[in-house]
């Protein structure tokens, strides 16, 4: 009896020891995984140091700054006209949209208003850069999740929008077309018909992306319920643009803030979603792109005639004062706080960029998600690195 029980005891001890050995060998303590700076999901050079427990992210710390160009310092030594060249390079995907709030803020300080036709053309180009920007996101989101086709469609169709922007401004990526008091030039002949055709193409592209991605079970499984941002957190972090609207906040600077841009003169809709997850952010951006093509069509129909430049002096000296103007850029709220002392250049410019706030939330939203979801969430928040490292 005792022998049997000894054998049993030894067998038991041996099995326990074996199990313990396995547990020791597979012990998963915290591990540091470095994502980026060169990772396709980082749209440039954002580095994220994540601390993992197995497959779970315990802590995530985004480290920007690999591309900081010091624009706030540079604006202090340049003239107003030179600064529009600089700010083009902040969000390089939605290029033209960067100039508009800066020029509007300078115009408010100078108490100059651009003629109606200039404001309408500005708005048209503004919306076209939104389409060029977000269509890239729509394709890119597929790439993050393993679907390669949409991004090729995006590059194919986006090219037409860029061509249209180039036809007016002369620049594919850096238009530098806005002037204080108006625009550099009027629209070229035949541009309006061509643009309407281009907008039709972009609507077809949106339909294609919708067919390819939205109903796809893999896409749904990887996006729904991933990276949920509640309304109060989104507001506290200052999330803006589609990220905020996907969290159920019906807020769009184009509609809700008085602006010289003629958004109040046409009918259009602000799209929102209440889920706050990656899927909602994608869905809102898709609807916004389609809405933007309709806005461009309506603006082209109502385009007033007249001059495109107000009378401004040759040397622009902005009177002393302070002004903050922000607009609803493709990535969210972009604003310039200009402090002027009455010189040819500003005294200080604070550039409020959307991606800066949109990515500050990453350390909050990545806590407790799985590693593959990191890529989904980064993709769905959508940032451009030049917009963080300005």
């Amino acid at each position: 009896m005792t022998a049997t029980s000894d054998q049993q005891r030894h067998a038991y001890v041996a099995s326990q020891a074996a199990e313990a050995r396995v547990n020791v060998e597979l012990d998963t303590g915290d591990m540091i995984l470095n994502i980026g700076p060169q990772h396709p999901a980082t749209h440039g050079t954002l580095r994220i140091a994540t601390q993992l427990d197995g497959e779970l992210v315990v802590k995530a710390d985004p480290i920007p700054g690999y591309m900081h160009r010091g624009y706030e310092k540079l604006t202090e030594v340049r003239t107003y006209r030179q600064i529009t060249t600089l700010v083009n390079r902040i969000d390089w995907v939605g290029n033209f949209a960067n100039e508009v709030p800066f020029v509007l803020a300078a115009e408010r300080l100078m108490e100059v208003e651009a003629p109606p036709r200039a404001q309408w053309i500005r708005t048209i180009l503004f919306e076209m850069s939104r389409i060029a920007n977000i269509s890239l996101f729509l394709g890119d989101m597929g790439v993050q999740l393993g679907a390669l086709t949409p991004v090729f469609f995006a590059f194919r169709d986006r090219e037409r929008v860029l061509n249209q922007i180039e036809a007016v401004t002369g620049g594919r990526f850096h238009p530098n077309f806005d002037r204080i008091g108006g625009l550099k030039d009027d629209l070229p002949k035949g541009w309006i018909a061509e643009t309407k055709d281009c907008m039709e193409t972009m609507r077809n592209f949106c339909d294609e992306v919708e067919d390819l991605l939205l109903g796809n079970p893999v896409f749904q499984a990887r996006c729904r319920g991933i990276g949920v941002i509640p309304t109060d957190v989104a507001l506290g972090y200052g999330l803006s643009g589609a990220n905020l609207r996907a969290s159920g906040v019906d807020w769009d600077l184009r509609r809700d803030v008085d602006s010289p841009l003629p958004y109040d003169q046409i009918d259009w809709k602000v799209w929102t979603h209440t889920d706050g997850d990656s899927f909602a952010r994608f869905w809102v951006r898709l609807q916004e792109t389609r809405e933007a093509t309709l806005i461009v069509d309506k603006l082209l129909d109502g385009l007033p005639s007249g001059p495109i430049m107000a009378k401004v002096p040759r040397i622009i000296k902005v009177p002393a004062g302070e002004a903050y103007i922000s607009t609803e850029n493709p990535l969210g709220e972009m604003g310039y706080y200009i402090v002027s002392k009455g010189d040819v250049g500003p005294f200080r410019v604070k550039i409020r960029t959307p991606s800066f706030n949109n990515i500050a939330i990453v350390s909050w939203v990545l806590r407790g998600v799985f590693v593959p979801d990191v890529i989904t969430i980064l993709g769905s928040l959508y940032f451009v690195l030049g917009d963080i490292d300005r």
Binding site: G65, E72, G236, Y237, G238, A323, V339, N357
Partner: protein, 234 residues
């Protein structure tokens, strides 16, 4: 009156802005004499300058007033840069080393008594208007953190800390955001030289020079003639 609006430079015929006036009034109710100065630009914007010690209280008050959306937070350095645009200026540079917060020549909207000023912008979604808050920073170069009220202030304060050398008391972990760790100096301070310009002068400086008087009238006439020709042709 609680309302200390200073409307020196706005024309008299502009209508009063009740929504923005009421923001100042409600803030004054909560903070009392913590509100130092305010300025309302009707139909455009509102600035409120609060006591530096009440900076956090101001954030809490605004948050309870439904200003839930955090815009940005940064610092203004009111000193005059010793190089660049102002190198030939005949006024005092305001930086003679006696005190880090020596009073500058002029400050902006809603005034100021120190060289460094914190300013931040928050927005109310329900009311549809934004407010710019300002506070003077004294010699201690310290001001309270907003991270407890607006979590988004975290990165903005880290940036302000490394770029201006202002400490935010109570911030969970102030460390460099953009600059490499161990970087010396505060690049956005006015007395920090723009090194690229020191090495090689910027050719664009030509554009900032005053045009000689005898040429100015001639150029102006040319521009206007071209402008009118264009207008007629269109």
């Amino acid at each position: 009156m609680a309302d200390e609006t200073t409307d020196n430079d706005t024309p008299a015929e502009v209508l009063a802005d009740e929504a923005r006036d009421s923001v100042v009034e409600r803030l004054t109710e909560v903070l009392g004499d913590g509100v130092v100065e305010s300025h309302v630009q009707p139909g455009a914007d509102v600035w409120v300058r609060v006591d530096g010690n009440r900076w956090q209280d101001a954030a809490r008050a605004l948050h309870t007033m439904d200003f839930a959306y955090f815009g940005f937070l940064s610092i203004i350095d009111w000193a005059i840069a010793p190089e660049g645009r102002y190198e030939d200026a005949d006024f005092d540079t305001g930086d003679d080393g006696e005190s880090i917060s020596s009073v500058p020549e002029a400050t902006g909207v809603a005034g100021g008594d120190t060289r460094f000023q914190a300013f931040a912008r928050v927005h109310s979604i329900t009311e549809g208007l934004g407010v710019t808050l300002k506070a003077d920073i004294d010699d201690s170069m310290t001001i309270g953190t907003w991270t407890g009220v607006y979590p988004g202030a975290d990165w903005h304060e880290r940036e302000a800390w490394e770029m201006f050398g202002v400490t935010f008391a109570g911030h969970p972990r102030l460390r460099n955001l953009y600059l490499p760790s161990g970087f010396e100096g505060h690049p956005l301070r006015k007395d920090y030289p723009l090194l690229a310009r020191v090495v090689k002068p910027w050719p664009g400086i030509v554009d900032m020079e005053e045009i000689p008087e005898h040429l100015e009238a001639q150029l102006e006439a040319e521009v206007m003639a071209a402008f009118e020709a264009e207008e007629g042709g269109a």
